[in-house]
């Protein structure tokens, strides 16, 4: 079975974010980057499916040149090859535009299954996979916690709200958006890292994409509306003040 996994590179979690002076995005110069967390789970799921059913895993990434690092890591973990839609100005596109580029690359590969994370940790639109399915004309399911292949179709476990789940069947090819926690992530082995060096990364220049219908105009720190009483001082004195508050005013101790 041939699986394409769409992955995105995002700033490292817990980075100190500072806003560009033109307020269009954050300052990227001094940030570290990593694979978007749900995409890491999508990649892992693809690798496990390949181990079970055989086939090939192709990592697909639209991003600037720095994304090569994340692509290499995917190859080191076990992806067979990669396609890099490389452009430093992808930020001018919206998710529909990005999904259009991804769809173009996927079509040429004719995979059985396309996986991606359910949303990105930076923009968080949560729709690239769904739009990709629509553009490819294939069925999809979102927030997936389990994938079972049954010949030419799959059964997946979809997460619903409040601790509920649902099984869904659909024919292949299909697109699934993967939820964090579906599996246990592997680390790249030394051998994997070595092998990755000789694996193919096909760099393609993006085709024309539709202009954004959702234009990011301004990025800013949200105004805090809640008055939080912060207890200052070293750990001990802050803790003492908090406990006093909880004992005498909140009355729960």
């Amino acid at each position: 079975m041939k699986i394409v996994v769409a992955i995105k590179q995002v700033p490292v979690r817990d980075s100190q974010l500072r806003i560009e002076s033109d307020q269009r995005w954050i300052q990227e110069d001094d940030l570290g980057f990593e694979i978007n967390e749900p995409d890491a789970y999508a990649l892992e799921e693809a690798l496990q499916l390949k181990e079970k059913h055989g086939g090939e895993v192709v990592a697909l990434c639209a991003g600037p040149s720095r994304a090569t690092q994340t692509i290499r890591e995917a190859l080191a973990k076990g992806a067979d090859r990669a396609i890099h839609i490389e452009d430093d100005n992808l930020r001018d596109l919206d998710t529909f535009g990005i999904a259009t580029l991804l769809a173009g690359a996927v079509k040429a590969e004719k995979p059985d299954l396309i996986l991606t994370g359910l949303q990105s940790d930076d923009l968080g639109y949560g729709q690239t996979g769904v739009v990709l399915a629509e553009l490819l004309g294939v069925p999809h399911a979102t927030i997936i916690m389990q994938v079972e292949v049954q010949g030419g179709s799959i059964q997946v476990k979809r997460e619903l709200e409040g601790g509920w789940f649902q099984h869904i069947e659909m024919p292949l090819p299909a697109v699934l958006t993967i939820q964090s926690g579906i599996n246990k992530l592997r680390y790249a082995t030394l051998m994997g890292i070595k092998k990755a060096k000789s694996k193919e990364i096909k760099s393609v220049t993006p085709a024309a994409a539709p202009a954004a219908t959702a234009v990011l105009e301004r990025v800013y720190v949200p105004q805090k509306s809640k008055q939080t009483q912060i207890f200052e001082g070293d750990a001990k004195s802050a803790a003492a003040k908090l406990v006093e508050k909880l004992k005498f005013e909140v009355r729960i101790i």
């Binding site: 998710t95 926690g181 954004a212 105009e217």
Partner: protein, 323 residues
């Protein structure tokens, strides 16, 4: 092209509560842009629900009815709503940002060559829509462009259902043309995993731990605080995903919803999917090393600091206060 269309969500004849919040957002947007307000209820046998929606101030409720819409499928709902939108050409289409909407609204928007402006928390004159980036650490203003319609989904709790204005509207049935062959997914009945041994919903005090705890071996640090306070231990999702605590202790949109007298969030950033599960708590305390963490947006009290210093100090103080 004119009007604001609010797509309300129901499941087996019961409303999703966010439907009313979204209708409230719709009333405000319709007033701002000076256009009529419509809503749509999609399913089979939704006349009674449509009648209920029609008691609010809006111009018309569309009861979108078809036997193939009884169970939700992305294909069925997309096809039905695409036909409704083509027939009535609204300029804005609003959804609650539910798991179901995440599943089909981007597909529907794509049919109109548009992106979904998802998980919106507010809108300003323009209209310009405000949404969060980086799990709530930053905000962004998004301006719609293109031929329309503009597709928007609204974050849980961002608009208040209580602000809904009452009224009286017409109900109109819309019968989409659907063909069983175009529905490619086969959904099974929703289910829960094994019964929960822990009912956090009944807990009076909760100490909840997040990824700030770093590794499994550190869990006893907060466990001890919970014990000292006589509180139930809960967690954010990554803690349960990693198997550091059982799934039944997860608080949030896919876990439990709690409203204890006190909820203490330790090393939890405060992503919206966590907040929806605990923001009804009477008193919220946050312990986080990042003073800009979104959890402080709901916290009554806070300590900005390293939990590995603060939590042991709290254990000391709680024991002292109790003796």
């Amino acid at each position: 092209m004119s009007g604001v269309l609010v797509v309300m969500e129901q499941q087996a004849g019961a409303w999703h509560r966010m439907s009313w919040e979204t209708l409230a957002a719709g009333q405000q947007l319709a007033e701002q842009v000076g256009q009529p307000l419509y809503s749509a209820v999609v399913g089979q046998g939704v006349a009674a629900l449509a009648g209920e929606a029609a008691t609010k101030k809006l111009d018309k409720v569309h009861a979108v009815e078809h036997a193939l819409l009884k169970d939700y499928t992305a294909d069925g709902f997309t096809a039905a709503l695409a036909q409704l939108i083509q027939a009535h050409a609204p300029s804005y289409v609003l959804f609650p940002h539910t798991y179901q909407v995440r599943d089909f609204a981007p597909k529907l928007a794509a049919r109109f060559a548009a992106s979904l402006i998802s998980d919106v928390v507010a809108f300003h004159a323009g209209p310009v829509f405000v949404r969060q980036l980086f799990q709530g650490k930053l905000n962004a203003d998004i301006r719609p462009a293109g031929a329309g319609p503009v597709f928007v989904s609204v974050q849980a709790g961002a608009f208040r259902a209580e602000s809904l204005v009452e009224g009286a509207a017409r109900v109109e049935t819309f019968a989409p043309r659907l063909d069983a062959a175009e529905i490619r997914t086969k959904p099974h009945e929703p289910f829960r995993e094994a019964a929960r041994a822990v009912d956090l919903g009944a807990a009076e005090l909760i100490v909840s731990v997040g990824r700030g705890i770093k590794e499994k071996d550190n869990i006893p640090v907060v466990e001890e605080l919970a014990k000292a306070m006589g509180a139930e231990l809960a967690a954010s999702r990554p803690i349960c995903d990693n198997g550091w605590l059982p799934m039944e202790r997860q608080v949030g949109s896919s876990g439990q919803t709690v409203s204890p007298k006190m909820y203490m969030a330790v090393g939890i950033s405060g992503a919206i999917q966590h907040l929806v599960g605990m923001k009804g708590s009477k008193t919220i305390v946050a312990i986080n090393k990042d003073s800009n963490a979104p959890i402080f947006e709901v916290a009554d009290y806070g300590i900005v600091g390293d939990l590995f210093e603060v939590v042991p100090a709290l254990v000391e103080e709680v024991k002292k206060a109790k003796s």
